[in-house]
Symmetry: D2
Subunit: 217 residues, 4 copies
Amino acid sequence: MTSRILLTGFEPFGGERLNPSQALAEALHGQRVGEAEITGLVLPCVFDDALAVLNQALDAHRPGLVLALGQAGSRADLTVERVAINLNDARIPDNAGRQPIDTPVVPGGPAAYFSTLPIKAIVADLRAAGLPASVSQTAGTFVCNHVFYGLMHALATRHPGARGGFMHVPLLPGQAARLAPPTASMALETMREGVLIALRTALHERVDRVVGGGALD
Amino acid sequence: MTSRILLTGFEPFGGERLNPSQALAEALHGQRVGEAEITGLVLPCVFDDALAVLNQALDAHRPGLVLALGQAGSRADLTVERVAINLNDARIPDNAGRQPIDTPVVPGGPAAYFSTLPIKAIVADLRAAGLPASVSQTAGTFVCNHVFYGLMHALATRHPGARGGFMHVPLLPGQAARLAPPTASMALETMREGVLIALRTALHERVDRVVGGGALD
Amino acid sequence: MTSRILLTGFEPFGGERLNPSQALAEALHGQRVGEAEITGLVLPCVFDDALAVLNQALDAHRPGLVLALGQAGSRADLTVERVAINLNDARIPDNAGRQPIDTPVVPGGPAAYFSTLPIKAIVADLRAAGLPASVSQTAGTFVCNHVFYGLMHALATRHPGARGGFMHVPLLPGQAARLAPPTASMALETMREGVLIALRTALHERVDRVVGGGALD
Amino acid sequence: MTSRILLTGFEPFGGERLNPSQALAEALHGQRVGEAEITGLVLPCVFDDALAVLNQALDAHRPGLVLALGQAGSRADLTVERVAINLNDARIPDNAGRQPIDTPVVPGGPAAYFSTLPIKAIVADLRAAGLPASVSQTAGTFVCNHVFYGLMHALATRHPGARGGFMHVPLLPGQAARLAPPTASMALETMREGVLIALRTALHERVDRVVGGGALD
């Protein structure tokens, strides 16, 4: 079943003209990781609509592995998310002008889902390959966390056996160049290499390694 | 029932000689917030042991309101935590030398609990009073999150009607002065005023205000 | 001659209603440090005008020691400035609407002046007293650096024997509370204690201690 | 005379195995920018020795334009330095074990030199090309500032007509991957493109543009 990988990104939001996660989903569409073929999918940066598109793709492709990507404008490295929470709290409007505050992603759903990817192994392999990476304890409360939670809920309730998770990527240099310095960025090529490593590790390790990746606060 | 408030802090950890949360629990022990009297309690910074002490106090005092405090060495403002996750991942050993990695706080417990305090109202009231404050989307994965999760689990399963939550406070100036600059800090008096405001708001508002406090990533 | 200390602060700028450096100059006006009496002076946050007021006070009071204070909105600790540069480059307009770009503070003046205060000793004494402090390698290019440079030029050319320097202080909690979190701050009382320690050390040590305070970049 | 460009980098220091500035000097050695040919030169990360090697190269090549590069481990973008100060204050030992504290680069030299490159124009052109960049008001107090000051002193006193300056670059991804996250980095290819743009602008613009690039503090 893991012969199909779904890799999602988002369209630009927040006034940006680019989104590295979109560029990655498009660039890797059709590529193979071992036996498995990647289907790239770009989601609207819109609450609920993003999940409708995602769920349709899950039904259509029935992937064994799903990695959702999102842009993290305040981060400097590849951050593999640990946990998705059942909460929307939008600091800015989404691309449809919606700005939910303290609503659930899935009414009645559990408070949170943990990633079912081997997040410690992915971070270790990324760093070993010379790519800055770390575990993140929060995916925020905007559409990224929304999609991460919705994905994990879908896998848990409707796609037994499939595994999934979320990785945030920094801005591209061209995005950072238009913002107030200093803003961290990462080249698309660096990110692309990182996504492939993350997918390879996720395919091969079903049980995560017991190595530290926690935060004191 | 909210005539009793339990306010917990932690003993020093990580090589520190002080912990502002201990100082606050001790300084406010016996004080009143309106009708309600504060019981200050200092917890060991030790996985499981901290929860044993906390649970004993919950049984003994049967507080209607519990605010757990902890030190956040990397933060500059008062941060009201939104969610506790069922996970221990210790970057450093606790005070008993334990360093669990990716273990649950409560085996079989839900993935997360949300604070049952009005976190948006507390942040708004703190800021209106001239105290830097914000909502935090992660309490980390060390003993602070452990106690926060254990507290919420205890309230949910054994103390119906009682409400609780967690607030992180920065380092004291005297702690920051011994670390590599720049390290943010906050005067104890500023924190003390903040804790009293947080408790007052928590006592009076059972339904949170619908105001933003989210994070994009 | 060091029986007179001139302590300057600035009026609020950049849309703020307060400036901690003004509060400090006013609060310490008339206080003694050993034998020496402090004259507090509030400068307009206006290029050139600030120096006119400063120079008038230098002539009137003939202080042996001058400490100029300024607000550093992006800093978390007390920062003792090492060097003033002969350059104005205003990112925002000053309080008179002036916004010079790449003009000299003193046409024909040297490119820079080093502080003549014992900056390493001051930082060491501040930290020993439990106050977060560090040496800063840049006072920026706004009115703070302008006054620092103008002060050092005046002392070098017209007030032989008098010594002077500059210290930046963080925002007050009440200022940080109105800005986007996280913004570091420091209680006025903590700053006040710091200024007195800095003055005491400056009075007693004419030769700085040889201890590190550098920056790699 | 500007038909010769000298581009310097440093050997690794501080326990690193790489230094992006070395990689850039080596990669661009022999390349042309318009009519001008680049001579790449790697300097030892050693106080005084670095300047001996630099001065020898200035005498041998008599470049019309000199751009010195250095690694800034704490920065996220390309930072064009504004000013070099006559001061060594080493937080760590250099590669020969020397750790000068508060000594002058050139005894009796002026307190500082400003870059004679069009720093605002360079930053504007870098950003317009999609490369994150900003003006920096301090080159630190380690070997980078030492070389920057020594370079400007040599140009001012012995190489009339030649112009020069300094640019700091972030860590490479492979360096950041071995440090505690989050550490910002930049791909070598992004830096390489940036250095070529900086050189092109420096060659063509002898008078800087009047655009902001200041710091409030």
